[in-house]
């Protein structure tokens, strides 16, 4: 061991600290910087950058506000009055989580699925956001240098959330537009084989359903094939259902929970885990509420203990428990939220169509998957990034290039539509129209 004694030596940091696996140097995040420097504002900065790269749901804020003001005139619901309320909140740091809150989450998740699946509150593990839930599950299901198979295109944050501290790898399951980016058994096998050839042990498949960035639900048949594949390979299946409440027509969503409901065999069920959060459906990312729902007792126990690194504040649990268990409110909220998102989606898809731009047929989420392949000068990743840059600098729209989502086809872009007013959306569409008009003239 070399003696390091000089005062002039710079003290070392860990590999985790110096690695760039956080991915914040990618275009996905670079566009955000441009937005931060010159943000669009309807009155004060109408020519600023419109943020269409952030999947945030602001369309139903008014529903939340009305509910909170009506039901909570003096803050009684929120623990400010009364000795027992505050005392419990202040001291409560049990990683089991408040029972009432878990029950409320279970009930909310059931409602979203139209009662087609039951959720046991004791299988709910709370984490500070879905980001933490995905990381936690990865720690539990995979060792360093193991891999999770993830279908492309996928949420850019996974590169960081699943890999950074965990040391786990992502092996992509390639999907393309020939079949609407659906996951095929061949693609699954191929990804698995790629990992095996590189001597990497595969521990599970992680999907997002509805998909980010595609904005489309995963078909029931595909889910069944996935589960079958995972059983044959004896690996886990993680379904990130964070957008489940943002499906435009409830009947079009099949949760993996529904598939599991019909299975008795524990050795099949216990490889399935669901991730959920209130950040997208309820539009409350600032509250940091996520959950792991696992059919595996050991995973529940382990996740619970590990959740001490990412507990949900007792205050938040208390605040949301009564709102989420108010079935009259949640039914209304879920229904209206779906309608409004569908309407937004229709506006943007129609608007893009008029400009000569096609999108993947979507039915969920806070974004659409737009095809600008025909505009590329070079059908390469560089060509795509060049176009992205033009859209950012000339149109002042921050959208997410497919390459940052590891899409194997160039020219696709994710465009978010729920984090702005309808007016702003119309302005964005106008800018696109004008851009397309200019191009047609040349």
């Amino acid at each position: 061991m070399m003696e390091r004694s000089s005062n002039n030596n710079v003290v070392e940091l860990s590999r985790v600290a110096v690695s760039d696996t956080h991915g914040e140097d990618s275009p996905y995040f670079a566009g955000w910087k441009a937005y931060d420097e010159n943000p669009y504002d309807e009155s004060h900065n109408p020519s600023g950058v419109i943020q269409m790269g952030l999947a945030e749901n602001q369309v139903s804020f008014d529903l939340l506000e009305t509910y909170l003001e009506k039901k909570n005139p003096e803050g009684s619901m929120w623990g400010s009055k009364g000795a027992p309320g505050f005392r419990e909140n202040a001291l409560f740091q049990d990683y089991h989580g408040l029972k009432t809150f878990r029950q409320a989450m279970a009930s909310f998740m059931e409602q979203i699925r139209g009662g087609k699946a039951r959720f046991d509150p004791d299988r709910i593990v709370l984490t500070a956001g879905a980001t933490a839930a995905n990381e936690l599950l990865t720690f539990i299901l995979a060792d360093p240098n193991d891999a999770l198979l993830v279908p492309t295109p996928y949420y850019p944050g996974f590169d960081r959330d699943l890999r950074w501290r965990t040391g786990v790898k992502i092996v992509p399951i390639h999907c393309d537009s020939s079949n609407h980016f659906e996951i095929t058994p061949e693609a699954l096998e191929s990804a698995y084989q790629t990992a095996r050839d590189a001597n990497i042990r595969v521990r599970g498949v992680l999907i997002t359903n509805p998909s980010n960035p595609l904005g489309a639900t995963v078909q029931k048949k595909v889910l069944e094939d996935l589960l079958d594949f995972c059983v044959r390979k004896n690996i886990h299946l993680v379904s990130d259902e964070i957008y489940s409440g943002s499906v435009f027509h409830a009947s079009e969503f099949t949760s993996v929970a529904e598939i599991v409901e019909s299975i008795d065999d524990v050795s099949v069920k216990e490889r399935v885990h669901i991730v959920y959060s209130l950040s997208k459906d309820l539009g409350l990312p600032g509250f940091r509420v996520g959950t792991i729902y696992s059919y595996n007792d050991n995973v529940v126990r382990t996740a619970r203990r590990m959740s001490s690194f990412t507990l949900v504040s007792s205050q938040t649990q208390h605040m949301l428990a009564s709102m989420l268990s108010d079935e009259e409110f949640t039914e209304k909220y879920i229904r209206i939220n779906r309608e409004r998102l569908r309407r937004r989606y229709e506006i943007i898809v129609e608007g893009l169509k008029k400009a000569g731009i096609e999108c993947l047929k979507g039915n969920a989420g806070l974004f659409c998957w737009m095809n600008l392949g025909f505009l590329l000068e070079k059908k390469t990743k560089d060509g795509e990034l060049q176009l992205w840059d033009v859209i950012l600098k000339e149109l002042k729209l921050n959208i997410s290039p497919g390459s940052s989502c590891h899409c194997s086809e160039v020219g696709w872009f994710r465009v978010c539509f729920a984090n702005m007013s309808e007016n702003t959306l119309e302005i964005a569409l106008k800018r696109i129209h004008e851009f397309m008009d200019r191009r047609r003239r040349f």
Partner: protein
């Protein structure tokens, strides 16, 4: 539905029957060969279950197709074997209640204070809603608390924390909000620092006795080892440079790479306050060896003795040392009695550590509505001063009563000036002066005297007989009850 579960048929087939009968070993051996040939050849080792033990094949109902968790997850789910956790669990089964369960187990194992709840409650009832919901025009605007905000904490919160920390640490040190990252509690704060300062397999030196929770906080996921640096009652359990030196050399001989020193000040479980000189010695040592220093100052506001608390930040800022190796942990769970809110701080003089920690906060950040409450609370200077005065006074009073009660039983305590507990020398009650004797006493205290106190073994104390007793959740009338139970235990041991 096509579902193929490998090898099910074999397990539920012949294995069990044969084993259950009295067939000599050779037949058993032939059976194994038979089964081995029947098993489909592995096209891919990963497709086969990983259990290799023969006995598993023959136990009924044990499906080989069971999916596994990672090897790092395995120890996490195991039932706790540390008396620290065992004691906490036992209290839950039979908790003492002054009125409803006077025979229950009295909790002295959890370092939390309820002494100033009345003040906090009053503040919350007057301010909670406004602090959380108010926007500039007085209308409730949910977007102010619902939307994504920087994960490292709102600037206003970091400013409020910086001011608060400076205030409670005596006002001799100032904190720069841009060096600060707000975390969801002290637990993620220590883990994130460990992730940033040490690689898997590296180690921190840690003076003993130490807070049992560090084992989990640091070892669970980071893979960083903790190397104890033993301290003795003769020094009032204060760490010495020679002990650090010795521990470091031994670690190196074993091939361990030491990345830093972790200690708590005020110390947990002893409660002593490190002197300015000791802090300087530690930093000087760290500089010589080119390693990090992590000072967990989570009890800094719970100082009740006469000794002045000095933050490592003050020493680092003095200009004498390279401060980029200094990192501080803080939180509101102890001083402000709101562990449920989950609010902690990483304060580092190293820019890259702050940057990495900021990015890691996406996994452990404080919800925005809670941040707004805390901004309001921490900036209410008048309330904070009133609260801290009362907090210190009430701990002091309780401490005096508790220590006096023990003194009358002839049980001494270590000198302490901070924290929510005292470090009690119960060696006179041991049947044998050994770890075994101490654990027996722990068990007797728990089951006979019905008191949960944390034994020194759980804290890696090298001298047997010491117990940590937390007294800040006790009412005055609970103290004679405790003393009486201890006295009776001692009487029954003698007879």
């Amino acid at each position: 539905m096509r579902l193929i579960v490998p090898l099910r048929g074999v397990i539920h087939g012949r294995g069990g029957l044969f084993v259950g009968s009295l067939i000599p070993c050779c037949l058993f051996y032939f059976l194994q060969l038979y089964l081995k040939r029947r098993r489909p050849p592995p096209s891919d080792p990963a497709e086969l279950p990983r259990t290799s033990s023969r006995t598993n094949l023959f136990s009924r109902g044990n499906s080989i197709g069971r999916v596994r968790v990672s090897s790092r997850a395995v120890p996490v789910a195991k039932p706790p074997d540390s008396p620290y956790y065992i004691g906490l669990e036992r209290v839950k089964t039979d908790p003492y209640d002054r009125i409803k369960n006077t025979d229950g187990i009295i909790q002295l194992g959890l370092a939390e204070s309820t002494l100033c709840f009345d003040l906090l409650q009053r503040w919350m009832s007057e301010n909670l809603m406004d602090s959380m919901m108010q926007s500039d025009d007085g209308e409730f605007d949910i977007s102010s608390i619902a939307m994504y905000k920087p994960f490292e904490g709102l600037l206003e919160l970091r400013v409020a924390f910086a001011d608060f920390m400076s205030r409670i640490m005596g006002g001799n040190v100032s904190f720069d909000p841009s060096n600060m990252v707000i975390t969801a509690g002290g637990t993620p704060a220590i883990e994130v620092l460990a992730f940033c300062l040490a690689d898997h397999g590296n180690a921190f030196l840690i003076p003993t006795p130490y807070y049992p929770g560090f084992d989990r906080d640091i070892k669970f996921r980071t893979g960083v080892e903790l190397i104890p640096v033993h301290c003795r009652s003769s020094d009032n359990f204060t760490v010495t440079v020679s002990a650090l030196e010795q521990a470091l050399n031994q670690a190196r001989k074993r091939g361990s790479k030491v990345s830093g020193i972790l200690f708590s000040n005020p110390s947990n479980p002893v409660g002593n306050i490190l002197s300015r000189e000791t802090l300087q010695d530690i930093l000087r040592f760290a500089q010589e060896k080119n390693i990090h220093v992590i000072s967990d100052e989570i009890f800094a506001g719970s100082v009740y003795g006469d000794k002045e608390f000095v933050s490592m930040a003050e020493i680092a800022g003095s200009g004498e040392f390279d401060k980029s190796r200094v990192h501080i942990i803080y939180g509101l769970s102890k001083d402000l009695s709101i562990p449920g809110f989950r609010a902690g701080v990483i304060y580092s003089f190293h820019e890259d550590v702050v940057n990495a920690a900021k990015k890691l906060m996406r996994f452990s950040s404080v919800p925005v509505p809670v941040q707004r409450i805390l901004i309001s609370l921490l900036s209410d200077v008048r309330f904070i001063e009133e609260y801290m005065r009362a907090h210190r006074q009430r701990i002091r009073d309780k401490h005096i009563r508790f220590v006096e009660g023990l003194k009358q039983l002839g049980i001494p305590c270590a000198e302490s000036g901070g924290g929510l507990y005292c470090w009690v020398d119960m060696s006179s009650l041991l049947t044998s002066y050994s770890e075994k004797g101490e654990l027996e006493l722990f068990e007797k205290l728990l089951t006979v005297a019905k008191i949960n106190a944390t034994p020194g073994t759980a804290c890696y104390c090298i001298e047997p007989g010491w117990f940590r007793c937390c007294f800040t959740a006790l009412a005055d009338e609970d103290i004679p009850v405790i003393m009486e139970r201890i006295r009776q235990l001692r009487e029954s041991s003698r007879s």
